[in-house]
Point group: C2
Chain length 195, copies 2
């Protein structure tokens, strides 16, 4: 009785996570998931309205934390935004790297689905914050490289312990990000062109 939903629900979720991580969302059929659980495809669709709902439930916790980070970022600008975005995103990526892994590059198409529409905007704001809200092309490019790279690295290093991955990523970000607050002009570099 205590169990409002049968444990099959959880088993399907777990199996879907494994299969999505292994072969991607598109590359995994409901049949694959059912086979791994040991039930019929119809059972999968009894517990979940459709394939997309399965993905949505899998991603819900990560999306909630991402939303929360976005809220925290709302009032910040410049170096402060950079700081919060960096630490917040590294934290999020490390913590939810399993969820990130199971999207594995299908982000663009998946984000096009209406269910994930607002994620697109959040990730753009996050990228802006990462660049310290600078519109210098160099800063915007660096922000994208780091965001995408961190995601990919977290997906790849699923078996590296948190307390090894997180400091390595934070150190990298700290090296790689050009602080935006310093008002003095940079020493001459090759890309010093103004746009």
């Amino acid at each position: 009785m205590a169990r409002a939903v049968s444990e099959t629900h959880g088993e399907i979720l777990a199996a879907a996570a494994r299969r999505f991580a292994a072969t991607g969302y598109r590359g995994t059929s409901l049949q694959d998931i059912a086979r791994e659980v040991g039930c019929s495809k119809a059972t999968v669709l009894y517990h979940f309205a459709n394939k997309e709902a399965l993905l949505a439930e899998l991603m819900a916790p990560a999306i909630a934390v991402l939303q929360e980070l976005d809220d925290r970022l709302a009032g910040l600008t410049g170096g402060a935004a950079q700081q919060v975005a960096a630490v917040g995103f590294v934290d999020l990526a490390v913590r939810f790297r399993r969820e990130i892994a199971l999207l594995r590059g299908e982000f663009p198409e998946l984000l096009a689905q209406p269910a994930f529409a607002h994620i697109q905007q959040i990730s753009e704001r996050l990228r802006d914050a990462f660049a310290g809200h600078s519109d210098r092309p160099g800063a915007r490019i660096a922000a994208l490289v780091l965001l995408a790279g961190i995601s990919e690295a977290c997906a790849e290093f699923v078996d590296v312990p948190d307390d090894e991955l997180r400091p390595a990523l934070l150190a990298l970000v700290r090296r790689a990000v050009e602080p935006v607050e310093s008002p003095q002009p940079q020493p001459p570099t090759t890309e010093d062109k103004e746009s």
Copy 2:
């Protein structure tokens, strides 16, 4: 007469590049490509043995350059390998960013196909070189972040001119990479000065 293969071949190739870049390899059907060209699906399969062959021909130039970079990397270690890998990969990524864009995250599954088997090994060697062949976790993590991030950034910024993208990426890499102990002074290359 001079045209051994009809121009349709090239048109199909161009259309496939556009569609793959827009919706990914898996997300693009032969029907889609045929529709864009204005011919039948059978015509596409008359000019190309199968869908994979279409992708292979599209990727061939990029793969050749990647192979060449791998060869150049063969005898190098430590800081020298790091240097060559960084400059070489940024160059390659910028130059072939259209090709990178049309893989768009499907790398893992695509690389599993036998036709691209050796690319897997090349990219692992490249990652090693990027880390200066260090086995420090931090170095390996940073290498992956940068490689993946650069790829993604190039795919994203297809419309940014080369001479803006390349220096921004090089500057980022130079900031982000922790120099490994340089074994011996190497002769000055084109852009060898430390940051």
